[in-house]
Symmetry: none
Subunit: 555 residues, 2 copies
């Protein structure tokens, strides 16, 4: 029935459950638009981080989510997390098994479901337009239905805190009904996000006392207190916390799961991730931002670029001697780094570390390290970002080490023409002129856009000499405009992900011209592919990344 | 001596003091660079909002701040706020009146000063390199010096919470010394930002009990809890809260004063602003962002553009009937507004609501609404996203209502050529052929990229006939590749933000060809600009937003 079997450490030990809803509630954020492929990629990162539960979407309500669960069944191999499908209790006056929305939820074939239910008397009357008794029956029936089908059931009690204020007895009755029907956890939701921590704590205490139910918490950030509200609920005894990576979500966003997890582990002595995963927090926060195409927030607690940045000057030496006096934690614990703002990012240590990761020991070669640090600094100042483009970094590294086996091709020129004709048809055509293996080649190709045309032309030019290029496929193409303040004159960063069917790698290009930036990333992508093929680069960035996907424990 | 006389309501009534440090601690944020003129402008906004105290900077330490206080004396006429200059306690083994830094602080001639002092034993030893007794003497002497000069004195006890953890008795002794010497409030600072609310509350309670001192609180957001920590301290009895507008500041920023004030007034029944000023919160938050040249954060609690935005669909009709069920406060209280997002799940209700927002009443016209809903659905299925492109939605709406006053121009064709020449130079050139006011125009322009070239060519073609286009500027350009699974053949969504100096609007284009998508957004941007100019579109999305900035009361 499902693609997972091993329970997460948290669920196995009965500890606090970490329940991620980036793919469902986070996806509701303004400007968020995740494709099915994006959702699968994010799910893999969440599993890699070690969350207990991944809520994947609302099958039946959104066609894209139905598709996600179908593909998840075939393609997702989760190591840590349990996949959860979200849905609502049955409609009023309809048997659960006859409700198409309930069927769609069942058909998602996940080991667990999360049912949203009303617990606020006015919402029952005004939004649901039914009786209080019928709402309780809806909760009971739907929970029992999924339990009978062998599913684990969580219940999201929507607008719970407002409902408790309106009619505490009824809100509590909803919780009791769900638990009696077999719900594993009843999640109290501050749906409108208007609560403050002490109110959350008081209500959680009272509900726990009156029902004995295992409770969860789901907060929104409308008072700027979503993280504190979540932690207050943990202090008050909840067993599950729901949140969203980087705090994406409707209005002001959901509780930021990255911050919550770091606070739990580092401030509240509550381990919630498998051993060793906390240091992946920064990497995974950035990877999810990248996939969601959201600019990473520099001042994000724990993982932001500025989170441990110090304006140097007066205190620089003091900070160097006693960093613990000026930082609330050691940034390495969450995969971050102290940054002194006099200099740019890249330091010797990180270049050495990264090189070792790629199989090059530079510890004895101060001069080469300095040269690479300088070059990386210069490129990053122009908008490059090598943390997202390991393959381009490896090419740079090999070039500096004179380790590139051969130049596969030299560019003479390229030209792209995009034309919208009077009949409305748009055609794109590219010509490249290259020299490879001593031969000058001119090739022209059409494409459905300028970059696609360029890709085809380059492929056509080289494929006779390098037939292995036939294996390569561009699987993702991302564009980000840096420094938006200059409109279309801003600098463009392009990331291209390429696959040879075995593994994938990412290359980068930066230029004020989007086509030029795309060319750089494209040329790097082909170079890296040829290099892999030539030398069977076992320990390359791409290979390490792919291995990590398959087996997070192996590292 | 000073430019102020009337005390703020808070100081007059003995209520909770609101102390803003945007100009001092906020200015330490990465990427913040405030000129003296910026600081004066922000100070006027803060006074207008009605904060009790404005900390203007550190005279002596920063030349710009010395200059600020000089000009403030001549130019600032504060009605509500007291201006405060920030400085440190005297150096070890130096008499206060001989310490140049103390003199500079005195010379700022403000009615109040805030002195930062050590209260952590290790900071005294390792950073100050003096004895615990001498540090106490430094506190006592410096406070007494400024009291003798007739100044009100606040003391910022730096690293207080860490210091309390290291040696509570000494930390408390620092507080006691300051109060005995005449400090009006001793502000407990979570300088490294590592605290959680209950810890803050416990420490404030203990210090208050042991010293009886009037206390203040100063928090940073390194655990994502700065707002909650501040409120917890208020609950525990502090008399002063320090914060920064929009939460700017070093690392993860300071406590966001906008959020704190809204929570105090609306959630904790603690009035802290003069009557009627709370509704200015949104306007002032945006004005400060504008002056500080920081992009406004759409998901900022209370005042963000998305803070009361609802994805329509299922719940749109329910929200219309009972907005209080779906919003934690009435957004008008803080000068904000409910926004319905026309999205994927767009239904009739949300289109009706959105249209009314734009000044069109469609409630009687079922057929038109159906037609618009169908068209939006069809476009959104292709990758359009109108929630982020109000102007494109308005153009669509007007087209369906036959309300477009005129077609400003008809496109015949365009062509873009991007070429990388053998010498490495990349050139972009665009040609557009349009018909406008009965005239066929062909124009060619170069640009630093294909879209920039297209923008220039279109502008060149139309500017003679529509000179008002000279006012328009493209201020932001965003590209998102949808469904990354097809590599460079994927669909591209382009968002363009345009300004006419008064207001800004966003348009959208979607196509598998990035140039074509950009063209669509560009053409819409120009159309909307011309439409605004032509009809003085008073009730358009942009105009409503601009009006809101100028006069929220007028709505």
């Amino acid at each position: 029935m499902t693609s997972q079997s091993a329970p997460s450490p948290a669920t196995a030990t009965g500890g606090l459950q970490i329940y991620d809803t980036t793919l469902r509630d986070g996806a509701q954020g303004e400007g968020m638009a995740l494709s099915v492929a994006d959702k699968l990629a994010i799910a893999r990162h969440l599993d890699d981080l070690g969350v207990g539960f991944i809520e994947g979407g609302w099958p039946g309500a959104l066609p894209k989510d139905t598709e996600f669960f179908r593909r998840a069944r075939d393609e997702l191999r989760l190591r840590n997390a349990v996949l959860v499908a979200f849905g609502a209790t049955r409609k009023p006056e309809v048997r659960a098994e006859r409700d198409p929305q309930v069927r769609a939820l069942l058909d998602a074939e996940t080991p667990a479901v999360c049912l949203v239910a009303k617990s606020h008397v006015r919402h029952v009357h005004e939004a649901l337009r039914t009786t209080l008794a019928e709402n309780l029956a809806m909760i009971r029936d739907t929970v029992e239905f999924f339990r009978a089908e062998g599913r684990r059931v969580f219940l999201d009690a929507e607008h719970f805190f407002d409902g408790y204020a309106a009619d505490a007895d009824y809100a509590v009755e909803c919780v009791r009904t769900a638990v009696e029907a077999g719900a594993e956890v009843v999640v109290l939701c501050d749906t409108n996000g208007g609560m403050l921590p002490w109110r959350i704590a008081d209500v959680v205490h009272d509900v726990a006392e009156r029902t004995g139910a295992p409770l969860g918490i789901h907060c929104h950030d409308d008072t700027g207190c979503a993280v504190a509200n979540t932690l207050a609920a943990v202090q008050a005894g909840v067993r599950q916390v729901q949140g969203v990576v980087n705090g994406y979500g409707e209005r002001c966003g959901n509780a930021n799961l990255i911050t919550v997890v770091a606070n739990l582990e580092l401030k509240m002595a509550t381990p919630v991730l498998p051993a060793g995963r906390l240091a992946e927090l920064g990497r995974i926060s950035h990877a999810v931002a990248e996939i969601a195409n959201q600019p990473p927030r520099a001042n994000q607690p724990y993982v932001g670029l500025s989170a441990f940045a110090h304006k140097a000057g007066l205190h620089a030496s003091a900070i160097k001697v006693s960093p613990d006096l000026y930082q609330h934690i050691d940034p390495a614990l969450v995969g971050n780094d102290m940054r002194m703002l006099v200099s740019e990012m890249a330091g010797r240590a990180s270049v050495e570390l990264k090189s070792r990761e790629l199989g090059f020991d530079l510890s004895g070669d101060r001069e080469t390290v300095s040269r690479i640090v300088e070059r990386v600094k210069e490129l990053e100042a122009r908008g490059f970002m090598f943390e997202a483009a390991d393959a381009s970094f490896e090419l740079l590294l090999r070039e500096e080490l004179d380790d590139v086996p051969a130049r596969f091709f030299d560019l003479e020129s390229w030209r792209v023409i995009v034309e919208r004709r009077p009949d409305g048809e748009v055609v794109s055509e590219a010509t490249v002129k290259v020299v490879a293996k001593g031969e000058r080649i001119v090739a022209t190709a059409e494409g459905n856009g300028p970059v696609n045309a360029l890709d085809r032309a380059l492929r056509q030019a080289l494929e006779r000499l390098y037939p292995q290029l036939g294996e390569l496929e561009l699987v993702d193409y991302k564009v980000r405009i840096l420094d938006g303040s200059h409109g279309t004159g801003a600098v463009t960063r392009v990331l291209i992900e390429t696959s040879d069917g075995e593994t994938e790698w990412t290359t980068i290009g930066v230029d004020e011209n989007v086509i030029s930036a795309s060319w750089q990333a494209l040329a790097d992508a082909y170079c890296y592919g040829l290099l892999r093929d030539l030398s069977g680069v076992e320990r390359s960035a791409g290979a390490v990344q792919a291995a990590a996907m398959d087996s997070p424990e192996a590292r």
